[in-house]
């Protein structure tokens, strides 16, 4: 961004913020958002559709704001107090107010930006690790127990050699060993090694202690009884993070299940944070399915998926239901590279199942960085660790989850 041309102030404090404010409006607010923001802030509001789309013309001068009505967002260039007042409004149209950040043309070294070219895997790290700022993080999940509730793990996979792994099978008649691949993949994303036997690096919390609960059979199916038993086991073992890439579809209008919500609330109170995928039932742009069970519980974090350009993945479910049915955060979920059971060792896959372990791995890093933050406190930290995206909160929640540095 050319600061002279846009009239932006320098960034003497090095905050990374421009002094302008981004406002996310509720879906469907449309052009009415201009009047709402004008009344709320006193700024002169323009509509981006009234211009030809050039950067110069859509950049608001001091005292002005610009509504990008097709995006459901606005950029305000006014007194920060006005924006702060807006953030405290409780009307239904204003969903979120964020300080605008400076972005760079190449985000790879400095972290991702919302205007970069699509990210790609390099010999150093997968695109997902770049997007979530894993490689530059000083944290590795040291001393943190992370439970993976899934199809198990290839316990002899070379990338997990030497790791602390505690495992338990909750599927009758099956060992913990992963006969499907889903569990090994998800464990790889959340807790894979810093230096895998074959590059690139694909895992996040490489020093975390792994608690592997096989709650899904080798066809990747399971029941409440197995999953609740797995959660109970993880809580009993003081796992700070419980990642469960599983779900069951719900309909628009469905409420969350009370048993799971009680379990999740009790897990939080005991110091365990539950994370689940939003689900893969959407076929965008035509059909958006609601966040599935159990991610639709208010006490469980629901994670949607984005691609290498930070666009919402076409299959990623959205926050259509209230009271827990919202997407909380987004994470990489397209063309994700991770571990596979021997002899394959590695594979690339897409899904919100791949996105949820990103949030789980980052939660482990945050838990290491904040030793007293567990349960609800850790959940709050995770929810505060994001890069705002130009996508509806319905689909990506607060934004793209980011690692602590």
């Amino acid at each position: 961004m050319n600061r002279a041309r846009t009239g932006l102030p320098a960034d003497p404090a090095g905050s990374g913020h421009t002094g302008r404010q981004l406002v996310l409006l509720r879906e469907g607010t449309g052009r009415a958002g201009a009047e709402i923001l004008r009344n709320a802030t006193g700024l002169r509001m323009g509509l981006s559709s009234d211009f030809d789309g050039s950067v110069r013309q859509t950049q608001p001068a001091p005292g002005e704001g610009m509504l990008f009505e097709r995006l459901g967002a606005a950029l305000l260039h006014g007194d920060p107090d006005q924006a702060r007042a807006l953030a405290h409004r409780t009307d239904a149209q204003t969903l979120r107010v964020e300080p605008e950040r400076y972005v760079r043309a190449s985000g790879l070294a400095e972290g991702p930006t919302v205007t970069s070219a699509p990210l790609a895997d390099t010999t150093l790290a997968t695109w997902g690790l770049q997007a979530t700022r894993i490689v530059s993080s000083r944290y590795a999940g040291r001393g943190i127990r992370v439970a993976m509730l899934d199809t198990g793990l290839d316990l002899q996979h070379p990338d997990f050699a030497g790791r602390t792994i505690v495992s338990q099978a909750f599927v009758t008649g099956l060992p913990v060993d992963d006969g499907n691949g889903h569990g090994t993949f998800c464990a790889g994303v959340a807790c894979g090694p810093q230096q895998p036997s074959q590059p690139p690096r694909y895992g996040i919390a490489f020093a975390a202690e792994l608690y592997i609960a096989k709650v899904l059979d080798d066809h990747a199916g399971g029941t409440d009884g197995n999953i609740l038993a797995g959660i109970d086991w993880a809580v009993r073992n003081n796992c700070a993070v419980i990642s469960m890439s599983l779900g069951s579809p719900v309909a628009v209008g469905d409420s969350y299940p009370h048993v799971y919500e009680q379990v999740a609330a009790r897990a939080l109170a005991a110091g365990s944070l539950l994370i689940a995928p939003s689900g893969n039932e959407s076929q965008r742009p035509d059909t958006i399915a609601p966040v599935e069970h159990p991610a639709n519980c208010p006490s469980i974090l629901a994670i949607g998926a984005v691609d290498q350009s930070f666009a919402v993945a076409p299959f990623s479910n959205g926050g259509l239901n209230p009271n827990g049915g919202e997407v909380n955060l987004a994470a990489p979920g397209i063309a994700i590279f991770s571990a596979a059971p021997r002899p394959t060792l590695y594979q690339t896959a897409s899904g919100t199942s791949m996105a949820a372990p990103y949030a789980a791995g980052i939660a482990a890093l945050l838990a290491e960085a904040n030793p007293t933050a567990r349960g609800a406190a850790l959940q709050t930290l995770v929810l505060q660790s994001f890069l705002a995206l130009m996508a509806p909160a319905r689909d990506v929640g607060a934004g793209l989850v980011q690692a602590p540095q």
Binding site: L228, I231, D232, V235, G247, V259, Q347, A349, G351, T352
Partner: protein, 78 residues
């Protein structure tokens, strides 16, 4: 009558006596599979027509039929 698998959430103020609650459920027909004391849940199976009786037991917060889950299937990688 059909037998159904269920999960039972024990109310917060009854978690300290979860084994008594489990015994009351068994007396009303619950074939008790497990007690998940750390999260306050009982699992098992019961005749469908006995569900209202279970829900009326003091100390029970919710009784729900068991769901089936699956992981998100792998999708084409790239």
């Amino acid at each position: 009558m059909s037998r159904v698998n269920i999960a039972v959430a024990v109310a917060e103020d009854a978690r300290g006596r979860i084994y008594e609650v489990a015994a009351a459920c068994r007396a009303l027909g619950l074939e008790h599979t497990s007690t998940l004391a750390d999260v306050g849940v009982l699992t098992g199976s019961v005749e469908f027509h006995d569900l209202p009786k279970l829900r009326a037991i003091p100390g029970i917060l919710a009784v729900e039929l068991e769901r089936e889950f699956r992981s998100g299937e792998f999708r084409a990688g790239r």
